[in-house]
Amino acid sequence: MIEKGRISYLELALIMYATVVATAILYIPYVTSQHAKRDLWLSPIWGSLSGFLIVMIIVKLSKLYPGKTLIEYGELILGRTLGKIISFIYLFFLLHDTAIAFREYGEFIESAFLHKTPIIFVTGSIALSCAIAVHGGIETIGRCATIFLPIVLALYILIYVFLIPDLNVKNIFPIMQDGIMPSIKGSIAPHAWLSQFSLMSFLIPLLTNQQKVMKWGMFSVIASVLTMVFINLGNLFLFGGIISNLYFPVFEAARFISVGSFFEHIESIVIAFWVLGGFVQLSSFFYMLILGTSQWLTLPSYKQFVLPIGFLIIIFSVWSTPSFEEMIRGMGTTMPFYFLTVQLLIPVLLLGVAVIRRKRSKSFLP
């Protein structure tokens, strides 16, 4: 196997959590509230369905082909040519996905405080520091996740703890004013984010121990969904109806913090600490892309890829969307379908073919 390092269940769960949640908490509240309005906190719960489904499929696939990632068993299931094509589509999607993640990160930093810095400089600098982690391999990313994520989690909670005096619980009412549909419509963005659990396929073979992977995968999905619900609820309590007009409600919420008249305007600190979570997310995307590429090309090592593909990601992050507004609009309309097509359909297809092939080969046996 290309990767020598191994990770624990906790590290797997933390990496997947960061991969989904780091940018989700920035963009999910705005995108969901466009349709769901006051029911935006329900949307991630509907969205969790695709998370659970994908984790189940991926774990099932990795049980059928132990020690292999999606890129590797795609070829075993569909044959060499078709497998390579499907893997390429998935990899290309992953490159696009990674680039979008970098762009999301960059756009947020741009609009939050570095208004005049070229975005390529912002994304490039974090890409360089991610490259160190990626070059160190999965163990490094797992350890970074164990160190950074408790800090980031504490930050998410602290923001709203400091805001307790300003939170108005009554903002939650009326629940489901227009029925269940708005919240389901709003859930397409959480669906897209949670569909990224298909990336778990790259990490499962790297576990030291694989019996309880289903439990920990589900745990990670539940934690991600709970975080999204928590963030959406917190923002709803704070902002009420105007939430659908705020691009980055979490950031706006941090701006509201004022403790004892000297501890205020700490949004820069909040962003700075959020970057730690973003770092884990971006480096795990980056890592999976590189690992997948070198598996697709059946290379003995992935380390020489780090800088070239990092460069490619930065270029793609500029190409991926023309502007911030386009990106936000895409998140509520096209992107979820694109994400779900690749990340749900391909695994479902693979699992279906794999199961059918197993059954047929079994029926041929006496």
């Binding site: 624990s8 906790l10 590290e11 930093i109 405080f113 570095l114 810095t117 912002v122 600098s125 974090i126 360089l128 520091s129 991610c130 160190i132 982690a133 070059h135 160190g136 391999g137 163990e139 490094t140 797992g142 350890r143 970074c144 996740a145 164990t146 160190i147 950074f148 008249s261 000297f262 205020e264 305007h265 700490i266 820069s268 600190i269 962003i271 700075a272 600490f273 970057v275 730690l276 770092f279 480096s283």
Partner: protein, 526 residues
């Protein structure tokens, strides 16, 4: 004669070599029965060595012998008293049994037989005296070394308020005795090897068998054996050649001058490398947490030890980040400061011609220069420098409008914070890394600071010291081991050793689990 032909050839070979290589790789030259031959070879080897003494004498006034030692390394009085005198006065002398007889006459406990010229080189260099006897192919090495050594003192760099006051010295044997006096169990092993082609420095790998992981011991030994170098003058030579990541700014081996620290590390399953000629010993493996532990943590009460440990972690970040955070906030995030403070800072910066980043660089570099000057100055001049430094940094620069007074304060805090690190090596990595983060913060503000931190942490996560991850027990997380990382648990609760120690998990317990004192457990009843 055929035999002498071989001898001659060997001698020629020996002279050709001119001792140009390590004595270990030198072909073995056995002692010749002709005493004069041996003396000739030795004299040619020790040509122009005015400190090597050849004292020819005769045992019982009939058998020729020679006493060989290096002046200043051997205890000549004792040799005269217990070796030379009885041998010269010996009466009965028949050839054949003379070697055993001679040995019996020498009233010294540490004597060894030697069989080759190579052995003589080794023995004589550590201060032993050699006796070679006519018609014998064996010699006697007499262990009566004596040289000037420093007395055992409290190490200046690692002083404590509560704790033993002794420190290692330059003499290896004294250091091993200090360890042996603390850990008396025979399972304390001390493997010896000589490193250095010319210095032949004695290096001892000490570990406790059963506690230290055997693969770790093998790894340390094999890395030490790899070293081929002219000389080892200090443990730093060895450190740089055995670490896992040679380009990392972080120290991957612990160093200490204190026998109590070394013993504690031995008991945790680490390996201690003692090197002759330096009081600084190396300890492997090393983790980030162990760089933050001071010996006194374990001697003082655990509440204060825990609090001080937290203080150290906080000031680690202050030492690393204070100037860059100041630059970032002043350049990018002025809104974070309370208005009154912002006004004060703006007022004091009104006269300053430089941007905050340049100002910070000037001050930090000046501070580093003053610090370096202070280390190496003769004591008489030191006071002058500190006065000049205080005046230049503290007052004149501010009054002249070169730097603002808040900047002076930041530099001062940084300086104090870096002195809080219990190990000197930690302070060094902070000093190195402070500057790149300052540049980042000047470019990207707090974001730059964070990118610097992520890069550093990512690098530290890749580090391994002898196979043990640098953040061991934090990442990868082992909750059981956090009791000596986040806090300093009371001794009765620290019942397991760090799990890198032994593979045999049954031997992880360091004490019985029921040691917490209390009224119900006092008294004599069991």
């Amino acid at each position: 004669m055929k035999f002498s032909g071989i001898w001659k050839k060997k001698k020629d070979h020996f002279q050709n070599i001119q001792l140009n290589e390590s004595l270990d790789t030198l072909p073995k030259i056995p002692l010749h029965p002709e005493l004069n031959q041996n003396i000739e070879v030795l004299k040619s080897a020790y040509k122009d060595c005015s400190d090597v003494v050849f004292r020819e004498f005769s045992i019982g006034s009939s058998i020729n012998a020679v006493l060989l030692y290096i002046d200043g390394l051997s205890n000549t009085e004792e040799v005269d008293q217990h070796v030379l005198k009885p041998l010269i006065q010996m009466k009965n002398h028949e050839h054949g049994a003379i070697f055993e007889k001679t040995k019996k006459e020498i009233s010294v406990s540490d004597i060894k037989d030697i069989y080759s010229i190579n052995d003589i080189f080794k023995q004589i260099s550590i201060g032993n005296s050699i006796i070679l006897i006519e018609k014998e192919t064996k010699g006697i090495s007499i262990g009566l070394p004596k040289w000037e050594k420093r007395s055992i003192m409290e190490p200046d760099a690692e002083s404590v308020i509560r704790g033993p006051r002794e420190g290692f010295i330059e003499t290896l044997r004294v250091n091993t005795s200090l360890l042996r006096r603390k850990i008396r169990h025979p399972l304390l092993r001390m493997k010896q090897m000589d490193i250095g082609r010319y210095t032949e420095t004695q290096v001892i790998v000490a570990y406790i068998e059963g506690i230290a992981n055997s693969t770790l011991v093998d790894e340390v030994t094999s890395r030490l054996k790899r070293i081929k170098i002219d000389g080892i003058l200090e443990s730093g030579y060895i450190e740089e050649m055995i670490v896992d990541h040679p380009f990392s700014p972080f120290s991957q081996v612990l160093t200490t001058e204190r026998p109590d620290v070394a013993s504690a590390c031995l008991l945790e399953g680490r390996v201690v490398i003692l090197i002759d000629g330096t009081p600084i010993t190396l300890i492997a493996p090393c983790t980030f947490a162990s760089l933050m532990q001071a010996p006194e943590d374990y001697y003082n009460q655990f509440y204060i030890s825990t609090l001080i440990r937290w203080l150290r972690y906080i000031f680690f970040f202050i030492a690393l980040l204070a100037p860059s955070a100041y630059v970032a906030i002043l350049t990018f995030h002025q809104e974070m400061l309370p208005t009154t403070l912002l006004l004060t800072i703006a007022q004091s910066r009104e006269q300053i011609p430089f941007p905050a980043l340049i100002e910070a660089f000037i001050m930090e570099i000046t501070f580093e220069a003053l610090r370096e000057a202070g280390v190496r100055l003769p004591k008489q001049v030191g006071a002058a420098v500190s006065i000049v430094g205080a005046l230049v940094i503290g007052q004149a620069a501010t009054a002249a409008g070169l730097v603002s007074s808040p900047m002076v304060m930041v530099v001062a805090i940084t300086g104090v914070a870096s002195f809080l690190m219990p190990r000197y090596a930690t302070g060094i990595s902070i000093r190195i890394l402070r500057f790149p983060i300052m540049i980042f913060s000047g470019m990207l503000g707090l974001l730059g600071v964070m990118i610097g931190i992520t890069a550093i942490v990512a690098h530290m996560c890749t580090l391994k010291s002898f196979g043990v991850p640098y953040f061991n027990s934090t990442a990868p997380l082992k909750i059981q081991n956090l009791k000596d990382v986040l806090i300093r648990a009371p001794w009765w609760a620290m019942d397991t050793r760090p799990e890198f120690s032994s593979k045999d998990t049954s031997n992880l317990r360091r004490q019985s689990s029921n040691l917490k004192p209390g009224p119900s457990k006092g008294g004599g009843e069991s």
